[in-house]
């Protein structure tokens, strides 16, 4: 699978994506978790300390030569993507491999560096064979950045939505920005649900298929404060268990579709 998590800022993409990766890996699947959000988050929810050096090396990207076509930056020619990603990424608990883009020294990269990082990200994530790794991406929040390059690899997009007017409006904006030529499945995941009717409410208002409704759970907030993975700090919490159900539903739908 190649999955991207998108959503309004603060909707809970990172916490859900990290937990999702851990459950996927526990089933014996090889998982590459990629973070392209300029703000940290996925590392913590996977159970890693933030390490800004976990990124592709500058030498892996070169500039277009005169007479060449295509994007200005590309991976150097003889790179074996599978081997390289293996060596650039770090291991998180349960064997998840973690790699991040779009950051330098904890700050958003600007201009040319961000562009280089994005071109490398696009090529790596599109070249990685799905039978070697499931690729799960935590994309930038909001509606400006996710589909200007970071989201191009995804075949399944999960839109994380809070059950409020701003969350719904943001999710509708995101849904209509998705390039349906490349994306096979678009689902909504309700987060911070406070009412059993929230899933139906979101389905009705956004027109999206809802694959899970994660309840408002102090455990998620506590884990974030403690800089720990929710799956380690609160494995039995309702929120963490619902993320596992989301994974099961996505896998099931993937099978049916295939």
């Amino acid at each position: 699978m190649k999955i991207a998590f998108v959503g309004k800022g603060g909707a809970g993409k990172s916490a859900i994506a990290g937990t999702f990766c851990r459950f996927l890996a526990r089933q014996g699947n090889p998982v590459l978790a990629v973070d392209s959000d300029p703000l940290p988050g996925l590392a913590l929810s996977l159970g890693l300390d933030i390490d800004d050096d976990v990124r592709i090396p500058d030498e892996a990207v070169r500039e277009r030569q005169e007479g060449e076509r295509g994007p200005r930056f590309r991976l150097v020619d003889d790179i074996d993507v599978v081997d390289s990603v293996g060596s650039w990424s770090v291991e998180a608990p349960d064997g998840v491999r973690f790699l991040q883009f779009g950051k330098v020294n904890g700050q958003a990269e600007s201009g040319q560096r961000l562009w280089k990082s994005q071109m490398a990200f696009r090529q790596i994530t599109s070249k990685l064979p799905e039978d070697v790794w499931h690729v799960v991406g935590d994309l930038p929040g909001g509606t400006r950045q996710p589909f200007t390059g970071w989201g191009a690899f995804a075949r399944t997009v999960l839109i994380v939505t809070e059950p409020g007017a701003a969350g719904i409006l943001s999710s509708k904006r995101l849904a209509r920005m998705i390039d349906l030529e490349n994306v096979e499945n678009v689902y909504a995941v309700v987060n911070k649900a406070r009412d059993p009717g929230d899933a139906d409410f979101i389905a009705e208002r956004t027109g999206l298929e809802v694959v899970g409704s994660i309840p408002w759970d102090e455990a998620f907030a506590d884990a974030e404060r403690a800089r720990r993975a929710p799956i380690d700090m609160a494995p039995g919490s309702d929120a963490v268990r619902e993320v596992e159900s989301v994974l099961e539903r996505v896998l099931q739908l993937d099978k049916v579709g295939a």
């Binding site: 309004k8 603060g10 703000l39 909001g142 509606t143 400006r144 007017a165 920005m177």
Partner: protein, 103 residues
Amino acid sequence: MKLAVVGKGGSGKTTTSSVIARTLARSGQPVVALDCDSNPNLGISLGVGDEETERLISMRQALDEGQGEHAPTWDTLINRYGSDGPDGIRLAVVSRIDNPEPG
């Protein structure tokens, strides 16, 4: 006073801005609220409603696509591209929108 509210996604910028704007307006001050977010939701928090929030965004987007003329001055901008909200607030969306289709 010219006040900007910034912060991480989901931290409450929009809600905070709207309450400050409404509170100021209720004390009798003229208030212009500018939504500079690339995912603009300030209209919802101020209370102008979903439809009007999206209408302001569509207008702003039409400008970016060259279908309208940019306002030459700030008062033209808020008169032509703004909307009246509760408590006499004037709201305008001034962010750059990367949203392909309105509606």
